[in-house]
């Protein structure tokens, strides 16, 4: 089963990368209010059981893929083709 985990900096947590990119975009003349940079993790799991996959994804996201102190995550399970 395939899934995508989206990891984002939490609201209120500073994101120096996003700030730098915002500055750069503004210099190029664009009206930018804010830029926040996260991470996309594509995962392929052995299991084809939806519930089991979600439980595993939840655990790996919480324990490793994101640091819940500063990052939020969103799990998207992709339907089997």
């Amino acid at each position: 089963m395939k899934a995508t985990v989206l990891v984002r900096p939490k609201a209120g947590i500073k994101d120096p990368q996003g700030e730098a990119v915002k500055g750069s975009l503004k210099k190029s003349g664009l009206d930018i209010v804010s830029v926040r940079i996260g991470r996309v993790v594509d995962v392929e799991l052995e299991t084809s059981d939806r519930e089991k996959a979600l439980a595993e994804l939840e655990q790996m996201s919480h324990d490793l893929l994101a640091n819940p102190l500063i990052e939020s995550y969103e799990i998207e399970l992709l339907e089997e083709a």
Binding site: G12, I13, K14, P16, Q17, L64, L65, N67, L69, I70
Partner: protein
């Protein structure tokens, strides 16, 4: 009888860089430094303190320290810390301690986005810890930093709690090199037996190399380890 040379374990992760320097500096403080491989599952018998050294464990992939936190030896380190054992994390070691939740907060990318490698001036905020007992309150220390992810942060609640519980042990004095909240350079856990610091005391142990101020931290740790190993036997 107090053992002359307390045993201090220095963990070598894949990608640790400063393990040998830390061991050398600790030996110069009259400690018996023992390198411990990350794949070990137990600390050496008689370990009185643990040092997690600087470097780029696992290439800093994902987040600094995130992967090292799952190294087999870390279960033993977490158990050791939970039992009140002394643990000092330096730079990448600090990041690992945060990821392992042994210390509060997290170290994100420097505000400048640049890797910084230079001496930093620090101010000692507490001297009642096993890591700063040889320092004086408010003392200025010159100790080098070299990191890309040294910007200490957390949510507002966590940061307020750190201040309130006096867990900030070292602050940058003067300019804030990496953007750390409250100029934080080093923090302890609530029990005061685990400390993390971004500056490298093991690189400031000889005046010939710019500063010997790091000896104050490492000798404090050796003193505390010596006291503890007396009760270990």
């Amino acid at each position: 009888m107090t053992p002359e040379r307390p045993k201090i374990a220095v963990v070598t992760f894949l990608g640790s860089l400063d393990d040998h320097d830390a061991a050398w500096a600790l030996a110069a403080m009259d400690a018996e430094a023992q390198l411990v491989w990350h794949a070990e599952t137990e600390l050496p018998r008689g370990t009185a303190a643990v040092v997690l050294p600087g470097g780029f464990s696992y290439g800093d992939y994902l987040r600094g320290g995130a992967i090292a936190r799952f190294a087999p030896i870390m279960d033993a380190v977490i158990e050791f810390a939970a039992a009140g054992g002394l643990v000092l994390g330096i730079c990448n070691g600090f990041q690992i301690l945060c990821e392992a939740r042994l210390l509060p907060g997290v170290l994100i990318r420097n505000a400048s986005l640049s890797f910084i490698c230079r001496d930093a001036m620090l101010r000692v905020e507490r001297t009642d810890t096993p890591f700063t007992s040889r320092c004086e309150q408010g003392q200025r220390l010159r100790i080098p930093i070299k990191h890309g992810y040294g910007n200490f942060t957390g949510d507002d609640e966590l940061l307020a709690e750190l201040e309130q519980k006096h867990q900030i042990v070292l602050r940058y004095h003067g300019d804030n090199p990496n953007g750390s909240a409250f100029q934080i350079a080093g923090v302890v856990n609530e029990n005061g037996n685990v400390m993390g610091m971004m500056p490298h005391p093991e690189h400031a142990v000889d005046r010939l190399l710019g500063s010997a101020d790091g000896t104050l931290i490492l000798a404090s740790l050796a003193d505390a380890a010596r006291e503890r190993s007396a009760t270990l036997v």
